[in-house]
Subunit: 258 residues, 2 copies
């Protein structure tokens, strides 16, 4: 493997940790990567947790990073709503409601996050009725599932897809695999896509999304990874590693010997 890597994008859940537990060797691997001087960004589609809480949680697990290094699908949605001057209806988990801000009583955009256990028929039907009136749908992510401590769990992609089907519309995604989400990270880091690697456990949102933006997609066999992922008909990871530590090891090897 010969790569010229100038920056690394890292998915959080399933790569560095599962739930409240760091994955084996991940804390040390991040420290080695830091020592290499490569600029990093942490890209997450998790929209059940505000970025401040996410930052504190990662710190408690031993990961050393800065709040500004974390890029979330929820903050990307908030930025987009502000940039476009829209009046949002936020359908999000109560934990991130404050971070998102107030819903407008007369919304001109529906913004869907992962409401998780707070998902209700009433909220989805309110969204549906607005979509049927022509109000556009902004969704923070389209992930099929995520790794919970006790197994894979249903992610918000189910609700995005369901609303799209019933209302006959197509959502705009603000997090991964949206090209704009990756491009925002590249712009902040001042690097080209071709010089950047993403390490993730989600074949579609991480690997497929990164590759579509011209970024190398490295898959790890942790988190939501499942054996069948290697046989996907369309998405072929540029590299596959047992875990984050193995990916970092090869990255630094390649960097010094390449």
């Amino acid at each position: 493997m010969s790569v010229s890597v100038k920056a690394v994008l890292i998915d959080l859940a399933g790569v560095l940790h599962t739930g409240d537990d760091a994955l084996p060797g991940a804390v040390q691997a991040l420290e080695r990567l830091r020592a290499s001087g490569l600029p990093l960004r942490f890209l997450t589609n998790t929209t059940r947790t505000p970025s401040t809480v996410l930052f504190a949680k990662l710190g408690r697990m031993g990961f050393k990073l800065q709040p500004a290094e974390i890029q979330t699908a929820a903050l990307a949605a908030r930025t987009l709503v502000h940039q476009r001057g829209l009046r949002p209806l936020w359908l999000v988990h109560p934990d991130i409601a404050t971070e998102m801000g107030h819903s407008d009583p007369n919304p001109d955009v529906v913004v869907l996050g992962d409401m998780g256990h707070f998902t209700t028929y009433e909220a989805l039907n309110r969204a549906f009725r607005l979509l049927m009136q022509g109000v556009p749908l902004l969704a923070m992510a389209r992930n099929r599932y995520f790794q919970d401590p006790d197994g894979l769990s249903l992610d918000m992609g189910a609700f995005v897809t369901g609303l799209e089907y019933s209302a006959g519309v197509r959502a705009e995604i603000t997090g991964k695999p949206a090209r704009a989400f990756f491009q925002a990270a590249l712009a902040e880091l001042g690097v080209a896509a071709s010089e950047t690697v993403l390490i993730g456990d989600d074949l579609s949102a991480d690997i497929g999304g990164a590759q579509a933006a011209g970024i190398q997609g490295w898959l790890v066999r942790t988190g939501k990874y499942r054996p069948g992922d290697e046989q996907h008909p369309e998405i072929k990871p540029d590299a596959i590693f047992d875990d984050f530590a193995a990916a970092v090891h090869c990255l630094l090897e390649a960097k010094t010997t390449g």
Copy 2:
């Protein structure tokens, strides 16, 4: 129009009534249709109401029919589960839970109905986890939306589609537009598909389903009908009427003059 009609299949919600109110002229039209002697079956995908309650409700509105004439997607699911000797997990509205029976603690099939306001993330995630283990998904319907008294509302098709997306599976539908559902009605009536007409307001489940089973599909402009329905790229109704009364009028005209 020249038709040789030997039996009529009639959708309920949006054709005969909306909520608790009979649609204008529908009670009288059904009486005229009865007087013609044509055998009838009432086919509904509504799975929030047990058939006994549905029957009582229709009676209160003035419609004259027999319980055995009502064929519901929920009862079709129950029949199918029994015929195949399956151990079901019933994810249904509490109002039809008794009619469906007990869920098995170790299910080998997930049966999804319209849970409506009782939809929870927990229930959907339980279904998702079973689907990921290879347990098949039986869904009573795939309707996109239905006509509520105060507007169109999100129907269970959103949750079927969402689960299919996240679990990477395909549901088997027991109600309309499943061919078996229409064929069960034809078999009971002892008529051929080519001699039968279905009157419905749902372009996909009613008209598309009926036509795929070889039955004429007559669309009414009530209930969930929307002007764009006439321009659907694939589904072309055999006839379109302002309402059930107009459809019955033409049916009886055609029958006497044809």
